[in-house]
Protein backbone atom coordinates (compact mmCIF):
# COMPACT_ATOMS: atom_id res chain seq x y z
CA UNK A 1 0.00 0.00 0.00
CA UNK A 2 1.45 3.37 -0.97
CA UNK A 3 1.47 6.24 1.44
CA UNK A 4 -1.10 7.95 -0.73
CA UNK A 5 -3.59 5.16 -0.12
CA UNK A 6 -3.04 4.88 3.61
CA UNK A 7 -3.35 8.54 4.47
CA UNK A 8 -6.59 9.50 6.18
CA UNK A 9 -8.54 12.46 4.90
CA UNK A 10 -8.47 14.20 8.27
CA UNK A 11 -4.82 13.29 9.01
CA UNK A 12 -3.52 16.86 9.09
CA UNK A 13 -6.72 18.75 9.73
CA UNK A 14 -6.80 20.91 12.84
CA UNK A 15 -10.28 22.41 12.60
CA UNK A 16 -13.25 20.46 11.37
CA UNK A 17 -15.90 21.76 9.02
CA UNK A 18 -17.15 25.20 9.89
CA UNK A 19 -14.76 25.33 12.83
CA UNK A 20 -12.19 26.22 10.17
CA UNK A 21 -13.94 29.55 9.70
CA UNK A 22 -11.83 32.65 10.27
CA UNK A 23 -13.05 34.23 13.49
CA UNK A 24 -15.50 37.08 13.13
CA UNK A 25 -13.07 39.50 14.82
CA UNK A 26 -10.26 38.61 12.39
CA UNK A 27 -12.65 38.73 9.47
CA UNK A 28 -13.76 42.22 10.47
CA UNK A 29 -10.13 43.38 10.32
CA UNK A 30 -9.55 41.71 6.97
CA UNK A 31 -12.54 43.28 5.25
CA UNK A 32 -12.39 46.62 7.08
CA UNK A 33 -10.69 48.44 4.22
CA UNK A 34 -12.84 46.99 1.44
CA UNK A 35 -14.73 49.59 -0.57
CA UNK A 36 -18.47 49.25 -0.20
CA UNK A 37 -20.42 48.04 -3.23
CA UNK A 38 -23.90 49.41 -3.43
CA UNK A 39 -26.79 49.20 -5.82
CA UNK A 40 -30.52 49.80 -5.49
CA UNK A 41 -31.03 46.24 -6.61
CA UNK A 42 -28.74 44.77 -3.97
CA UNK A 43 -31.15 43.88 -1.18
CA UNK A 44 -28.54 42.68 1.31
CA UNK A 45 -25.62 44.71 2.63
CA UNK A 46 -22.71 43.24 4.50
CA UNK A 47 -23.45 45.01 7.77
CA UNK A 48 -26.33 42.79 8.85
CA UNK A 49 -24.36 39.54 8.57
CA UNK A 50 -26.76 37.99 6.04
CA UNK A 51 -26.24 34.37 5.01
CA UNK A 52 -26.15 35.13 1.29
CA UNK A 53 -26.30 38.06 -1.11
CA UNK A 54 -29.68 38.85 -2.66
CA UNK A 55 -30.00 40.86 -5.87
CA UNK A 56 -33.34 42.00 -7.22
CA UNK A 57 -33.89 41.26 -10.92
CA UNK A 58 -37.54 42.30 -11.12
CA UNK A 59 -40.49 42.90 -8.82
CA UNK A 60 -41.10 39.19 -8.49
CA UNK A 61 -37.62 37.73 -8.83
CA UNK A 62 -34.36 38.08 -6.91
CA UNK A 63 -31.25 35.93 -7.13
CA UNK A 64 -29.50 34.54 -4.05
CA UNK A 65 -25.77 34.00 -4.30
CA UNK A 66 -23.54 32.24 -1.78
CA UNK A 67 -20.42 30.11 -1.39
CA UNK A 68 -19.27 27.77 1.37
CA UNK A 69 -16.45 25.25 1.66
CA UNK A 70 -14.23 23.67 4.29
CA UNK A 71 -11.54 21.01 4.92
CA UNK A 72 -12.54 17.38 5.67
CA UNK A 73 -14.36 16.78 8.93
CA UNK A 74 -14.33 13.01 8.69
CA UNK A 75 -12.49 10.28 6.82
CA UNK A 76 -15.38 9.02 4.68
CA UNK A 77 -14.94 11.04 1.45
CA UNK A 78 -18.51 10.60 0.18
CA UNK A 79 -19.98 11.72 3.51
CA UNK A 80 -17.57 14.69 3.65
CA UNK A 81 -18.68 15.83 0.18
CA UNK A 82 -22.31 15.41 1.03
CA UNK A 83 -22.14 17.36 4.29
CA UNK A 84 -20.13 20.15 2.66
CA UNK A 85 -22.75 20.47 -0.08
CA UNK A 86 -25.72 20.34 2.32
CA UNK A 87 -23.99 23.04 4.36
CA UNK A 88 -23.42 25.26 1.30
CA UNK A 89 -27.00 24.88 0.04
CA UNK A 90 -28.28 25.85 3.47
CA UNK A 91 -27.36 29.52 3.07
CA UNK A 92 -29.85 29.84 0.21
CA UNK A 93 -32.60 28.36 2.38
CA UNK A 94 -31.60 30.67 5.24
CA UNK A 95 -32.51 33.61 2.98
CA UNK A 96 -35.87 32.00 2.18
CA UNK A 97 -34.73 30.97 -1.30
CA UNK A 98 -34.60 27.89 -3.47
CA UNK A 99 -31.23 26.71 -4.89
CA UNK A 100 -31.07 26.56 -8.68
CA UNK A 101 -27.46 26.11 -9.81
CA UNK A 102 -24.37 24.85 -7.98
CA UNK A 103 -20.66 24.94 -8.86
CA UNK A 104 -18.04 22.73 -7.21
CA UNK A 105 -15.22 24.49 -5.35
CA UNK A 106 -12.49 21.90 -5.01
CA UNK A 107 -8.90 21.93 -3.76
CA UNK A 108 -7.18 18.55 -3.69
CA UNK A 109 -3.58 17.35 -3.28
CA UNK A 110 -3.45 14.64 -5.98
CA UNK A 111 0.04 13.59 -4.83
CA UNK A 112 -1.11 12.75 -1.31
CA UNK A 113 -4.37 10.97 -1.99
CA UNK A 114 -5.71 8.57 -4.64
CA UNK A 115 -7.96 10.16 -7.27
CA UNK A 116 -10.75 7.83 -6.25
CA UNK A 117 -11.08 9.81 -3.03
CA UNK A 118 -11.60 12.99 -5.03
CA UNK A 119 -14.29 11.26 -7.12
CA UNK A 120 -16.11 10.19 -3.99
CA UNK A 121 -16.01 13.64 -2.42
CA UNK A 122 -17.66 15.28 -5.40
CA UNK A 123 -20.05 12.32 -5.79
CA UNK A 124 -21.24 12.97 -2.23
CA UNK A 125 -21.70 16.63 -3.07
CA UNK A 126 -23.60 15.78 -6.24
CA UNK A 127 -26.00 13.57 -4.33
CA UNK A 128 -26.93 16.44 -2.00
CA UNK A 129 -27.33 18.84 -4.92
CA UNK A 130 -29.65 16.35 -6.66
CA UNK A 131 -31.70 15.83 -3.49
CA UNK A 132 -32.10 19.59 -3.27
CA UNK A 133 -33.59 19.66 -6.76
CA UNK A 134 -30.70 21.89 -7.82
CA UNK A 135 -28.38 21.49 -10.84
CA UNK A 136 -24.65 20.85 -10.52
CA UNK A 137 -23.33 22.69 -13.56
CA UNK A 138 -19.54 22.83 -13.22
CA UNK A 139 -16.86 24.07 -10.90
CA UNK A 140 -13.20 24.79 -10.41
CA UNK A 141 -10.44 22.61 -8.96
CA UNK A 142 -6.82 23.25 -7.96
CA UNK A 143 -3.93 21.49 -6.22
CA UNK A 144 -3.43 22.37 -2.57
CA UNK A 145 -1.81 21.09 0.60
CA UNK A 146 -5.09 20.01 2.19
CA UNK A 147 -8.39 19.00 0.61
CA UNK A 148 -11.11 21.64 0.58
CA UNK A 149 -14.57 21.13 -0.85
CA UNK A 150 -17.79 23.05 -1.08
CA UNK A 151 -20.18 24.77 -3.46
CA UNK A 152 -20.97 28.15 -4.90
CA UNK A 153 -24.76 28.23 -5.15
CA UNK A 154 -27.17 30.47 -7.00
CA UNK A 155 -30.81 30.40 -6.03
CA UNK A 156 -33.95 32.43 -6.45
CA UNK A 157 -36.37 34.04 -4.05
CA UNK A 158 -39.39 36.30 -4.35
CA UNK A 159 -38.25 39.77 -3.23
CA UNK A 160 -41.14 39.94 -0.73
CA UNK A 161 -40.28 36.56 0.79
CA UNK A 162 -36.64 37.21 1.64
CA UNK A 163 -35.79 36.20 5.18
CA UNK A 164 -33.33 38.76 6.52
CA UNK A 165 -31.44 38.70 9.78
CA UNK A 166 -32.65 42.21 10.48
CA UNK A 167 -36.40 41.60 10.57
CA UNK A 168 -36.97 39.83 13.89
CA UNK A 169 -39.63 41.53 16.06
CA UNK A 170 -39.97 41.96 19.80
CA UNK A 171 -41.92 39.08 21.40
CA UNK A 172 -41.09 36.77 18.50
CA UNK A 173 -40.41 33.18 19.44
CA UNK A 174 -37.06 31.74 18.38
CA UNK A 175 -37.40 28.37 16.70
CA UNK A 176 -34.26 26.26 16.19
CA UNK A 177 -34.68 23.31 13.82
CA UNK A 178 -31.61 21.07 14.34
CA UNK A 179 -29.79 20.01 17.52
CA UNK A 180 -26.40 21.62 18.24
CA UNK A 181 -23.05 20.16 19.29
CA UNK A 182 -21.42 18.98 16.05
CA UNK A 183 -18.05 20.56 16.88
CA UNK A 184 -17.91 18.80 20.24
CA UNK A 185 -19.10 15.57 18.56
CA UNK A 186 -16.26 15.55 16.02
CA UNK A 187 -13.66 16.20 18.69
CA UNK A 188 -15.13 13.51 20.95
CA UNK A 189 -15.23 11.02 18.08
CA UNK A 190 -11.56 11.70 17.37
CA UNK A 191 -10.83 11.02 21.03
CA UNK A 192 -12.81 7.77 20.89
CA UNK A 193 -15.42 9.13 23.30
CA UNK A 194 -18.49 9.24 21.04
CA UNK A 195 -20.53 6.05 20.54
CA UNK A 196 -21.37 4.66 17.10
CA UNK A 197 -25.05 5.41 17.71
CA UNK A 198 -24.37 9.06 18.49
CA UNK A 199 -22.03 9.24 15.50
CA UNK A 200 -24.67 7.98 13.05
CA UNK A 201 -27.26 10.34 14.54
CA UNK A 202 -24.79 13.17 14.01
CA UNK A 203 -24.18 12.27 10.36
CA UNK A 204 -27.91 11.91 9.76
CA UNK A 205 -28.46 15.41 11.16
CA UNK A 206 -25.61 16.95 9.13
CA UNK A 207 -26.80 15.34 5.87
CA UNK A 208 -30.32 16.67 6.30
CA UNK A 209 -31.05 19.37 3.75
CA UNK A 210 -32.66 22.45 5.29
CA UNK A 211 -34.95 22.83 2.26
CA UNK A 212 -37.82 20.67 3.57
CA UNK A 213 -37.55 22.47 6.92
CA UNK A 214 -37.97 25.85 5.22
CA UNK A 215 -40.89 24.49 3.21
CA UNK A 216 -42.76 23.52 6.39
CA UNK A 217 -41.91 26.72 8.25
CA UNK A 218 -42.73 28.97 5.28
CA UNK A 219 -46.41 28.10 5.68
CA UNK A 220 -46.27 30.52 8.59
CA UNK A 221 -45.44 34.20 8.72
CA UNK A 222 -41.67 34.02 9.21
CA UNK A 223 -40.07 37.31 10.20
CA UNK A 224 -36.38 36.45 10.07
CA UNK A 225 -34.15 33.44 9.50
CA UNK A 226 -30.53 32.33 9.59
CA UNK A 227 -28.69 29.04 9.81
CA UNK A 228 -26.39 28.04 12.66
CA UNK A 229 -22.83 27.46 11.48
CA UNK A 230 -19.31 28.42 12.47
CA UNK A 231 -20.05 31.22 14.95
CA UNK A 232 -22.16 28.88 17.06
CA UNK A 233 -25.70 29.36 18.34
CA UNK A 234 -24.72 32.42 20.39
CA UNK A 235 -22.84 34.07 17.52
CA UNK A 236 -25.67 33.72 15.05
CA UNK A 237 -28.27 34.77 17.63
CA UNK A 238 -26.18 37.83 18.36
CA UNK A 239 -26.05 38.70 14.66
CA UNK A 240 -29.82 38.46 14.32
CA UNK A 241 -30.42 40.38 17.56
CA UNK A 242 -27.93 43.06 16.54
CA UNK A 243 -29.36 43.44 13.05
CA UNK A 244 -32.91 43.61 14.43
CA UNK A 245 -32.09 45.95 17.34
CA UNK A 246 -33.35 43.47 19.94
CA UNK A 247 -32.20 41.29 22.83
CA UNK A 248 -32.47 37.51 22.53
CA UNK A 249 -33.50 35.62 25.67
CA UNK A 250 -32.72 31.92 25.55
CA UNK A 251 -33.86 29.10 27.84
CA UNK A 252 -30.73 26.93 27.76
CA UNK A 253 -32.61 23.75 28.67
CA UNK A 254 -34.83 24.16 25.61
CA UNK A 255 -31.90 24.09 23.20
CA UNK A 256 -31.90 20.74 21.36
CA UNK A 257 -28.60 18.88 21.73
CA UNK A 258 -27.01 16.09 19.71
CA UNK A 259 -26.62 12.77 21.51
CA UNK A 260 -23.90 12.54 24.19
CA UNK A 261 -22.51 16.04 23.57
CA UNK A 262 -23.34 17.42 27.00
CA UNK A 263 -21.35 14.66 28.68
CA UNK A 264 -18.46 15.12 26.22
CA UNK A 265 -18.36 18.89 26.77
CA UNK A 266 -18.37 18.35 30.55
CA UNK A 267 -15.24 16.24 30.19
CA UNK A 268 -13.37 18.94 28.33
CA UNK A 269 -13.90 17.85 24.74
CA UNK A 270 -14.47 21.40 23.58
CA UNK A 271 -12.91 22.53 20.27
CA UNK A 272 -10.61 25.54 20.06
CA UNK A 273 -13.07 27.38 17.83
CA UNK A 274 -15.71 27.21 20.59
CA UNK A 275 -13.29 29.06 22.88
CA UNK A 276 -12.63 31.55 20.09
CA UNK A 277 -16.39 32.12 19.75
CA UNK A 278 -16.67 32.54 23.52
CA UNK A 279 -13.92 35.15 23.44
CA UNK A 280 -15.57 36.99 20.57
CA UNK A 281 -19.11 36.99 21.96
CA UNK A 282 -18.67 36.95 25.75
CA UNK A 283 -19.10 40.76 25.77
CA UNK A 284 -22.57 40.51 24.25
CA UNK A 285 -24.01 37.62 26.25
CA UNK A 286 -25.14 37.24 29.82
CA UNK A 287 -25.49 33.80 31.35
CA UNK A 288 -27.46 33.12 34.50
CA UNK A 289 -25.29 31.38 37.06
CA UNK A 290 -27.53 28.35 36.88
CA UNK A 291 -26.53 27.58 33.28
CA UNK A 292 -24.05 24.69 33.38
CA UNK A 293 -20.65 25.37 31.81
CA UNK A 294 -21.10 22.45 29.38
CA UNK A 295 -24.31 23.97 28.04
CA UNK A 296 -22.71 27.35 27.50
CA UNK A 297 -19.74 25.67 25.79
CA UNK A 298 -22.20 23.95 23.44
CA UNK A 299 -23.89 27.24 22.67
CA UNK A 300 -20.51 28.58 21.52
CA UNK A 301 -19.65 25.35 19.69
CA UNK A 302 -19.10 25.94 15.95
CA UNK A 303 -21.72 24.06 13.94
CA UNK A 304 -21.33 22.47 10.54
CA UNK A 305 -24.48 22.11 8.45
CA UNK A 306 -26.51 23.38 11.38
CA UNK A 307 -30.22 24.00 11.57
CA UNK A 308 -32.30 26.92 10.41
CA UNK A 309 -33.29 29.38 13.10
CA UNK A 310 -36.53 31.30 12.65
CA UNK A 311 -38.01 34.32 14.35
CA UNK A 312 -41.82 34.34 14.23
CA UNK A 313 -44.88 34.99 16.38
CA UNK A 314 -45.18 32.63 19.34
CA UNK A 315 -48.48 31.10 18.16
CA UNK A 316 -47.10 30.45 14.69
CA UNK A 317 -43.96 28.98 16.21
CA UNK A 318 -45.98 26.46 18.20
CA UNK A 319 -47.93 25.38 15.11
CA UNK A 320 -44.74 25.18 13.03
CA UNK A 321 -43.06 23.19 15.79
CA UNK A 322 -45.76 20.53 15.72
CA UNK A 323 -45.46 20.21 11.92
CA UNK A 324 -41.66 20.09 12.03
CA UNK A 325 -41.56 17.46 14.74
CA UNK A 326 -44.09 15.38 12.80
CA UNK A 327 -41.64 15.41 9.88
CA UNK A 328 -38.76 14.24 12.06
CA UNK A 329 -37.06 17.59 12.77
CA UNK A 330 -35.53 17.83 16.25
CA UNK A 331 -36.81 21.39 16.50
CA UNK A 332 -37.50 23.42 19.62
CA UNK A 333 -38.66 26.88 20.64
CA UNK A 334 -35.56 28.02 22.49
CA UNK A 335 -36.54 31.50 23.59
CA UNK A 336 -37.72 34.83 22.34
CA UNK A 337 -36.68 38.27 21.22
CA UNK A 338 -37.46 41.14 23.56
CA UNK A 339 -36.96 44.87 23.56
CA UNK A 340 -33.57 45.58 25.07
CA UNK A 341 -29.98 46.33 24.20
CA UNK A 342 -29.37 45.49 20.55
CA UNK A 343 -27.36 42.33 20.02
CA UNK A 344 -27.41 41.09 23.60
CA UNK A 345 -28.05 37.39 24.18
CA UNK A 346 -29.35 36.50 27.64
CA UNK A 347 -29.26 32.84 28.61
CA UNK A 348 -30.98 31.34 31.63
Amino acid sequence: MSSAESKKLTANIKAYGCAAKISSAELAQIVASLPSFESDNLLTGTKNFEDAAVYKMSDDLAIVSTIDFFPPLLDDPFMYGKIAAVNALSDVYAMGGKPLLALNVFCFPTCDYPLELAQQIIAGGAQAVREAGCLLVGGHSIQSTEPIYGLAVTGTVHPDKILMNAAARADDAILLCKPIGSGVSFLARKGGELSDTAWSALLESLCRLNGPCLEIAAKFDLHAATDITGFGLIGHLHEMAQASGLTARIASRQVPLLDEVEHCAEQGLVPAAAYANRNTYSKVCRFAESVPLALSDLMFDPQTSGGLLFSLAQSDAELALVDLQKSGWKASIIGKFIDGDAGVVEVF
Binding site: G268, Y275, N279, S315, E318
Partner: protein
Protein backbone atom coordinates in the same frame (compact mmCIF):
# COMPACT_ATOMS: atom_id res chain seq x y z
CA UNK B 1 0.48 8.97 43.72
CA UNK B 2 1.18 11.82 41.36
CA UNK B 3 1.56 10.95 37.69
CA UNK B 4 3.45 13.29 35.42
CA UNK B 5 2.45 13.68 31.79
CA UNK B 6 4.23 15.69 29.14
CA UNK B 7 1.51 16.44 26.60
CA UNK B 8 3.24 19.29 24.83
CA UNK B 9 2.99 19.20 21.04
CA UNK B 10 -0.11 17.02 21.06
CA UNK B 11 -3.23 18.19 19.27
CA UNK B 12 -6.59 18.49 20.98
CA UNK B 13 -8.32 16.22 22.12
CA UNK B 14 -5.27 13.99 22.76
CA UNK B 15 -4.10 15.74 25.98
CA UNK B 16 -7.50 15.63 27.63
CA UNK B 17 -8.12 12.01 26.57
CA UNK B 18 -4.73 10.85 27.94
CA UNK B 19 -5.31 12.63 31.24
CA UNK B 20 -8.82 11.21 31.52
CA UNK B 21 -7.54 7.66 30.92
CA UNK B 22 -5.19 7.96 33.89
CA UNK B 23 -8.07 8.87 36.18
CA UNK B 24 -10.32 6.23 34.60
CA UNK B 25 -7.81 3.55 35.64
CA UNK B 26 -8.30 4.82 39.18
CA UNK B 27 -4.63 4.43 40.04
CA UNK B 28 -3.88 8.13 40.27
CA UNK B 29 -5.06 10.70 42.78
CA UNK B 30 -3.22 13.50 41.07
CA UNK B 31 -1.86 14.24 37.63
CA UNK B 32 0.61 16.93 36.67
CA UNK B 33 0.26 17.60 32.97
CA UNK B 34 2.38 19.86 30.81
CA UNK B 35 0.51 21.36 27.87
CA UNK B 36 1.40 24.13 25.49
CA UNK B 37 -1.84 25.69 24.42
CA UNK B 38 -4.55 27.48 26.34
CA UNK B 39 -7.40 25.47 24.80
CA UNK B 40 -5.89 22.33 26.38
CA UNK B 41 -5.73 24.17 29.70
CA UNK B 42 -9.40 25.13 29.51
CA UNK B 43 -10.40 21.60 28.52
CA UNK B 44 -8.37 20.07 31.37
CA UNK B 45 -10.15 22.45 33.75
CA UNK B 46 -13.46 21.08 32.50
CA UNK B 47 -12.24 17.52 32.90
CA UNK B 48 -11.19 18.29 36.48
CA UNK B 49 -14.62 19.74 37.22
CA UNK B 50 -16.36 16.63 35.87
CA UNK B 51 -14.08 14.49 38.06
CA UNK B 52 -14.87 16.74 41.04
CA UNK B 53 -11.13 17.30 41.31
CA UNK B 54 -9.18 20.46 42.02
CA UNK B 55 -7.26 22.08 39.21
CA UNK B 56 -4.27 24.37 39.54
CA UNK B 57 -2.72 26.00 36.50
CA UNK B 58 0.78 27.47 36.53
CA UNK B 59 2.10 29.33 33.53
CA UNK B 60 5.68 28.37 32.77
CA UNK B 61 7.92 29.69 30.03
CA UNK B 62 5.92 28.94 26.88
CA UNK B 63 3.80 26.18 28.39
CA UNK B 64 1.46 25.46 31.27
CA UNK B 65 1.60 23.03 34.14
CA UNK B 66 -1.85 21.76 35.07
CA UNK B 67 -2.18 19.88 38.33
CA UNK B 68 -5.42 17.97 38.76
CA UNK B 69 -6.02 16.45 42.16
CA UNK B 70 -9.00 14.46 43.30
CA UNK B 71 -10.58 16.37 46.16
CA UNK B 72 -11.32 14.88 49.54
CA UNK B 73 -15.07 14.42 49.98
CA UNK B 74 -15.79 17.77 51.65
CA UNK B 75 -13.20 19.80 49.78
CA UNK B 76 -14.64 22.35 47.44
CA UNK B 77 -13.28 22.73 43.95
CA UNK B 78 -10.45 25.20 43.90
CA UNK B 79 -9.74 26.28 40.39
CA UNK B 80 -7.16 28.98 39.92
CA UNK B 81 -6.51 30.17 36.45
CA UNK B 82 -3.56 32.00 35.03
CA UNK B 83 -5.39 32.59 31.80
CA UNK B 84 -8.48 34.62 32.61
CA UNK B 85 -9.55 35.07 29.00
CA UNK B 86 -10.61 31.43 28.95
CA UNK B 87 -12.16 31.39 32.37
CA UNK B 88 -15.88 30.77 32.45
CA UNK B 89 -16.93 34.34 31.82
CA UNK B 90 -20.56 34.30 32.79
CA UNK B 91 -21.78 37.60 34.03
CA UNK B 92 -24.01 36.97 36.96
CA UNK B 93 -27.63 37.40 36.07
CA UNK B 94 -30.28 36.25 38.47
CA UNK B 95 -33.13 34.04 37.40
CA UNK B 96 -35.73 36.49 38.58
CA UNK B 97 -34.33 39.07 36.17
CA UNK B 98 -34.83 36.65 33.33
CA UNK B 99 -38.17 35.15 34.19
CA UNK B 100 -40.85 36.50 31.91
CA UNK B 101 -43.13 39.03 33.46
CA UNK B 102 -46.69 37.77 33.89
CA UNK B 103 -49.39 39.95 32.35
CA UNK B 104 -50.18 41.41 35.74
CA UNK B 105 -47.21 41.61 38.03
CA UNK B 106 -49.01 41.89 41.34
CA UNK B 107 -51.85 39.68 42.47
CA UNK B 108 -52.50 37.50 39.44
CA UNK B 109 -55.36 35.75 41.19
CA UNK B 110 -56.96 32.45 40.30
CA UNK B 111 -57.02 30.85 36.89
CA UNK B 112 -59.60 28.38 35.62
CA UNK B 113 -57.94 25.74 33.47
CA UNK B 114 -60.40 23.74 31.34
CA UNK B 115 -58.82 20.69 29.71
CA UNK B 116 -62.06 19.13 28.46
CA UNK B 117 -65.60 20.17 27.56
CA UNK B 118 -67.18 18.46 30.55
CA UNK B 119 -67.07 18.77 34.34
CA UNK B 120 -65.64 15.49 35.60
CA UNK B 121 -66.08 12.07 34.00
CA UNK B 122 -69.36 10.30 33.27
CA UNK B 123 -72.17 10.87 30.82
CA UNK B 124 -70.88 13.34 28.22
CA UNK B 125 -74.04 15.40 27.81
CA UNK B 126 -74.55 15.61 31.56
CA UNK B 127 -70.88 16.59 31.98
CA UNK B 128 -71.36 19.50 29.57
CA UNK B 129 -74.42 20.81 31.39
CA UNK B 130 -72.61 20.46 34.66
CA UNK B 131 -69.65 22.47 33.40
CA UNK B 132 -72.03 25.17 32.18
CA UNK B 133 -73.64 25.32 35.61
CA UNK B 134 -70.23 25.41 37.26
CA UNK B 135 -69.14 28.39 35.19
CA UNK B 136 -72.41 30.25 35.79
CA UNK B 137 -72.16 29.63 39.51
CA UNK B 138 -68.58 30.79 39.53
CA UNK B 139 -69.57 33.96 37.71
CA UNK B 140 -72.32 34.68 40.20
CA UNK B 141 -70.20 33.84 43.25
CA UNK B 142 -68.05 36.91 42.70
CA UNK B 143 -64.81 34.88 42.83
CA UNK B 144 -63.70 36.35 39.56
CA UNK B 145 -60.82 34.46 38.00
CA UNK B 146 -58.00 36.34 36.27
CA UNK B 147 -58.29 34.02 33.29
CA UNK B 148 -60.15 31.08 31.85
CA UNK B 149 -57.79 28.97 29.79
CA UNK B 150 -59.10 26.29 27.47
CA UNK B 151 -57.00 23.47 26.06
CA UNK B 152 -57.68 20.24 24.16
CA UNK B 153 -61.45 19.57 23.82
CA UNK B 154 -61.96 22.44 26.28
CA UNK B 155 -61.68 24.80 23.32
CA UNK B 156 -64.95 23.40 21.94
CA UNK B 157 -66.73 25.63 24.48
CA UNK B 158 -65.88 28.47 22.10
CA UNK B 159 -67.86 26.98 19.20
CA UNK B 160 -70.26 29.40 17.54
CA UNK B 161 -73.41 27.51 18.53
CA UNK B 162 -72.03 26.46 21.93
CA UNK B 163 -74.31 26.80 24.98
CA UNK B 164 -71.22 28.16 26.79
CA UNK B 165 -70.98 31.17 24.54
CA UNK B 166 -72.97 33.41 26.87
CA UNK B 167 -71.28 32.59 30.14
CA UNK B 168 -67.85 32.98 28.57
CA UNK B 169 -68.92 36.32 27.13
CA UNK B 170 -70.08 37.42 30.60
CA UNK B 171 -66.72 36.49 32.11
CA UNK B 172 -64.97 38.42 29.38
CA UNK B 173 -67.09 41.50 30.00
CA UNK B 174 -66.33 41.22 33.71
CA UNK B 175 -62.62 41.51 32.95
CA UNK B 176 -61.54 37.87 32.85
CA UNK B 177 -59.13 36.86 30.08
CA UNK B 178 -60.98 34.12 28.20
CA UNK B 179 -58.41 32.34 26.09
CA UNK B 180 -58.21 29.22 23.96
CA UNK B 181 -55.06 27.29 23.04
CA UNK B 182 -54.15 28.01 19.43
CA UNK B 183 -52.80 24.53 18.73
CA UNK B 184 -56.08 23.05 19.99
CA UNK B 185 -58.28 25.50 18.07
CA UNK B 186 -56.33 24.54 15.00
CA UNK B 187 -56.59 20.83 15.70
CA UNK B 188 -60.38 20.89 16.23
CA UNK B 189 -60.73 23.18 13.20
CA UNK B 190 -62.46 25.96 15.16
CA UNK B 191 -60.50 28.87 13.71
CA UNK B 192 -63.68 30.35 12.24
CA UNK B 193 -65.43 30.21 15.60
CA UNK B 194 -62.86 31.86 17.82
CA UNK B 195 -61.86 35.52 17.68
CA UNK B 196 -58.13 35.99 17.11
CA UNK B 197 -57.63 37.99 20.28
CA UNK B 198 -58.98 35.05 22.27
CA UNK B 199 -56.44 32.64 20.81
CA UNK B 200 -53.35 32.15 22.91
CA UNK B 201 -50.32 29.88 22.90
CA UNK B 202 -48.77 27.35 25.22
CA UNK B 203 -46.13 29.82 26.35
CA UNK B 204 -48.74 32.30 27.57
CA UNK B 205 -50.77 29.49 29.14
CA UNK B 206 -47.72 28.38 31.11
CA UNK B 207 -47.09 31.99 32.18
CA UNK B 208 -50.66 32.28 33.49
CA UNK B 209 -50.52 28.94 35.30
CA UNK B 210 -47.11 29.70 36.76
CA UNK B 211 -48.13 33.13 38.01
CA UNK B 212 -51.60 32.17 39.28
CA UNK B 213 -52.25 32.22 43.00
CA UNK B 214 -54.61 29.27 42.49
CA UNK B 215 -55.43 27.06 39.51
CA UNK B 216 -58.96 25.65 39.36
CA UNK B 217 -59.21 22.74 36.96
CA UNK B 218 -62.64 21.15 37.37
Amino acid sequence: MVEKLDLRGLLCPEPVIRTKKLFDKNTSDAVEALVDDDVCVANLQRLAKSLKASCKVTAEDGFYQVRIERALPDQSINSSNSNPSLEHSHNALSLSQLASQPANNNDVGSVIFLTKETLGEGDAEFGKSLLNIFLQTMLQSGHMPRAILMVNSGVKLMKKDSPFKKVLEDFKNAGTDVLACGLCVDYYKLKEDVQTEQITNMFAICEYLGAASKVISP
